[in-house]
Amino acid sequence: MLDSDAYTDRVAEILEAHRGLEGPLLPILHAIQHAFGHVPDSAIPQIAAALTLSKAEVHGVVSFYHDFRDAPAGKHVIKLCRAESCQTMGADAVAERIKKALGVDWHGTTADGRVTLEPVFCLGLCACGPAAMVDGRLVGRVDESLVAEVAK
């Protein structure tokens, strides 16, 4: 469990940095995911102990929210909006072409670990759809040329 040891110290720092907050669990989970790219299983008992919660409660929170991952994503993450406004601008067809180009379905990661494709329900770019977020960067009026941007 070398990995677990590597996580433990950093998780402890994060827990310490969030002491005194009211309702600190979401900020803690965001910080852990920011540090490791996912919320490692081994962090859950440590968080639970620090917040005097049960492991089940912490696991329940982690698994409730779409944002938190239990394993790292691919090198690049494409989030494509699936909501109604983007659909009226052809988002479904764009999504199908991107899925085909990448060879993955929603939530899938390409075999080489290069790209993860995630659905998102609204980025607030509803007057310039279809919208996407690529590695945290917002893109309006997208088409399948998005795939070329994450080819490297």
Binding site: L26, D67, S85
Partner: protein, 501 residues
């Protein structure tokens, strides 16, 4: 030379950041001193990125700008191919009544001096000279109703919290703007964050609350950044402090957290599961304490109400829908964006006159008003005036005032199925009608799609159960898009039958 390039998400998504780099290097190449201000968006999304150049006559607009258009900004501006003239004189701007969004797109969002110079903090200063009850009365008299969608009178909610006895009370701003076609909260937070801060500080005074939280969805990185910076600036300037302070919190991708009680659970670090009411959040909200939970636009409308008086605000509007509403015109539309005006325009005026019809040039088939839980309206209902009661009277809702326009290529059975699928994905799982009903709804619509018309009575019955039996609006309102699609577009459901035969 002073040039404005929006930092707004929509402008950035269409290339604004690259324009800043190009403008800076072009200016350096020419030896011209340029000050670039990152403003909010004016709301004319079809013109984004909309770059503005300050001139003696006013701010000249250029859009939609591409990198190739940048050198032209340093030449004769009157012949620039993307020139739209004075931004303030643009018909889209002139037709509006900008009260809540008066400063958005105009000011530097992170300059408190700019904020003051454009009338900021006048409302807070006035509130400081008033009693709690007087502030609550002013907000009640303005007729302001919750802009998140429920339309509950803001002043009444404040009074409940104000009169509750507790050692600690809270102001929570719901910035979990998850509805498709809505982006007013985002634009306000990105373009004029101090207005929200001022509104929350006034709410704090009115209710005796010393602590506030803004719960912003994680899909809004720019809003999170701008709001966080603005809070730091406001704290350093003494606008926030011992009397009232606030924190920015980030959601984690759960649509249901836009519902106030699940938002409170999420803020407390729990699963975003809906709470049964009573107790009302106004009496037992965040950490079990009396809590105001208001939408961004509700809170951001308070400073202008306090600055100009309740009467000024309530003089706009129709019926019981007082004041202005920031319409968000989206989807397949020629002129999409944010348009703030008094309540009362008809749906047809909004879609055709302001929005200019579809982007594709094809006929408008349907407009979904109020987000994914709102009804689809056909052109035959385009005479409906935009107001809470007026839309309720046509079995619809205005919600957060977002409009998704769709052309005649849209299939309403597909959209009805999507509504159920979305509810199934986003249900918090607490109540059965929503958790199970949405999945059964998808299956039932699939039966209809296969031509099994015997599924129709089951779907109608299911929608009735969800509407009456769900704990919150997610399960309770999902029937709106489904039943409106069936009622107004029966052919789309019948065609599927013929295809199967």
């Amino acid at each position: 030379m002073k040039i404005y390039v929006p930092l707004d998400s929509a402008a950035v998504a269409l290339g604004a950041d690259a324009l800043v780099t190009a403008i800076t290097s072009e200016a350096a190449r020419r030896g011209v001193a340029v000050e670039v201000v990152r403003n909010g968006s004016r709301g004319m999304i079809w013109l984004e990125p909309l770059v503005e150049v300050a001139s003696a006559a006013g701010r000249l607009g250029f859009g939609p700008m591409t990198l190739a258009d940048v050198p032209g900004l340093f030449g004769d501006l009157t012949t620039h191919p993307k020139a739209i003239g004075l931004v303030e004189d643009h018909p889209w701007m002139r037709g509006q009544t900008r009260l809540t969004f008066a400063r958005v797109g105009v000011v530097d969002p992170l300059s408190l001096d700019d904020y003051r110079a454009h009338g900021g903090l006048v409302g807070l200063d006035r509130a400081k000279s008033m009693t709690k009850a007087q502030i609550v009365t002013e907000v009640t008299d303005s007729g302001l109703r919750g802009r998140g969608g429920a339309g509950f009178p803001t002043g009444i909610k404040w009074r409940t919290v104000s009169e509750a006895a507790a050692d600690q009370k809270y102001i929570v701003c719901n910035a979990d703007e998850g509805d498709s076609a809505t982006f007013a909260d985002r634009m306000l937070m990105e373009g004029d964050p101090f207005t929200l801060i001022e509104g929350m500080a006034i709410a704090g005074l009115a209710c005796g609350a010393t602590k506030g939280y803004v719960y912003i969805r994680s899909e809004y990185p720019v809003a999170i950044r701008v709001m966080s910076q603005a809070v730091t600036i406001a704290r350093a300037a003494g606008v926030l402090g011992a009397a009232f302070d606030m924190e920015i919190r980030v959601g984690a991708g759960a649509y249901v957290c836009g519902e106030e009680t699940s938002l409170l659970n999420s803020l407390e670090g729990k699963r975003g599961v809906v709470r049964a009411k009573p107790p009302l959040p106004a009496l037992q909200g965040f950490m079990g304490r009396p809590t105001v939970v208001n939408n961004v636009i509700s809170l951001a409308s308070v400073p202008v109400i306090m600055a100009k008086g309740a009467q000024h605000y309530r003089d706009f509007g129709l019926g019981r829908s007082r004041g202005t509403i920031p319409l968000q015109i989206a989807g397949n539309v020629k002129h999409g964006g944010l348009y703030e005006c008094a309540f009362g325009l008809t749906l047809g005026q909004i879609v055709n006159d302001i929005g200019g019809g579809t982007a594709s040039g094809r006929p408008v088939k349907a407009v979904q008003v109020g987000g994914p839980l709102g009804a689809w309206f056909p052109p035959s209902l385009f005479d409906t005036p935009f107001g809470y009661e007026e839309f309720a009277g046509k079995d619809g809702l205005i919600g957060h005032a977002g409009l998704t326009i769709a052309d005649d290529t849209i299939d309403m059975l597909t959209m009805a199925r999507f509504a159920m699928e979305f509810c199934a994905i986003e249900s918090c799982g607490k109540c059965t009608p929503c958790r199970i009903g949405s999945t059964r709804g998808v299956e039932t619509l699939d039966r209809l799609a296969r031509g099994d018309s015997s599924a129709m009575p089951i779907l109608t019955d299911l929608c009735n159960t969800m509407k009456l039996g769900s704990l919150c609006a997610l399960g309770g309102f999902t029937p709106y898009p489904v039943m409106s699609a069936i009622t107004h577009f029966p052919d789309d459901f019948a065609r599927a039958k013929e295809a199967a035969e």
